[in-house]
Amino acid sequence: MIYFLCMVLFAIGLYGVLRKRNLVKIILGLVIIEYATHLLFILIGYRMNGRAPILAEGEVIANIVDPLPQALVLTAIVISLGVTALVVSLAIRIYDRYRTFDITKIRRLRG
């Protein structure tokens, strides 16, 4: 059920990417998709009543949450920041050239 809510968040981001005509709204849809994906990975690695994956002296390490998806998502978060920065800088350049964020108008002004 909670996985499905995560997929609903993903679908909202997908709707933004597919349906919006404003370039900034499309970027926001991409950012929402990234959040949903990161959250899904962490949800899969969660153990009920688990502990954070940090070892301590004399601790029973039977109910630790999965550290592998956490490490992968840590990488993915930083990469998503880089990707977003690149896309936003391209959008700013497109705005400087065409004076609009509307993707249909950008297509019309080509050439």
């Binding site: 709707y15 933004g16 005509r21 630790i64 977003t84 964020f101």
Partner: protein, 182 residues
């Protein structure tokens, strides 16, 4: 688990507001709320490293996005085939969610991960790397090549941003007009 459901509901509402808000600064701020909700969800899901990283990245992302939207507003406009396009998109999303519903049935049940790979990391982590934090022992020792690739991607993105945004070597508007005249 009630707080997790409430948080996910908050994030879904925030995402809808972000996509449907009329002016862009408020939609950027709504996305910021969604990101901070993700940070709190990581904290609830026992991932403190991720919560800290997500907080930092979220604030940087807000700065970048506000830089893009500042004083560049766009009135909402609808074109002729608005209804048809929306119907097609909603149909596609319905199919997507139906497939997702059947796909997540095959995932391990929430709260009981498989942890076939992580078993070795948990058993060997402290002994072979000396790190008490298992996440840092995975990203910096067991999967260090992964982190090297991440650094490569990040620097490539930074070089791309610099190349796109630089002012030196780019024609100004006056020069461009002059070149068009000639």
């Amino acid at each position: 688990m009630l707080e997790l459901y409430l948080l996910l509901g908050f994030m879904i509402v925030g995402a809808i507001i972000a996509l449907e808000a009329k002016d862009m600064v408020s939609s950027v701020i709504a996305v910021g709320a969604v990101g901070l909700g993700t940070s709190i969800a990581f904290l609830i899901l026992k991932a403190p490293d991720l919560a800290i990283t997500q907080l930092t990245v979220e604030i940087l992302m807000l700065i970048i996005l506000i830089r893009a939207t500042l004083r560049r507003d766009l009135p909402f406009s609808t074109s002729g085939r608005w209804l048809l396009n929306t119907v097609i998109t909603v149909l596609f999303l319905g199919v997507f969610l139906a497939v997702a519903y059947f796909a997540i049935k095959d995932l391990p049940r929430f709260g009981s991960p498989i942890m076939r790979v992580a078993k070795i990391y948990i058993a060997e982590g402290l002994k072979s790397t000396g790190a008490t934090n298992l996440v840092s022992s995975v990203i910096l020792d067991f999967r260090a090549y992964d982190t090297l690739g991440e650094a490569t991607v990040l620097f490539t993105a930074a070089i791309g941003v610099i190349a796109v945004m630089r002012r030196i070597g780019r024609k100004t508007e006056d020069e461009k007009v002059k070149a068009d005249d000639e």
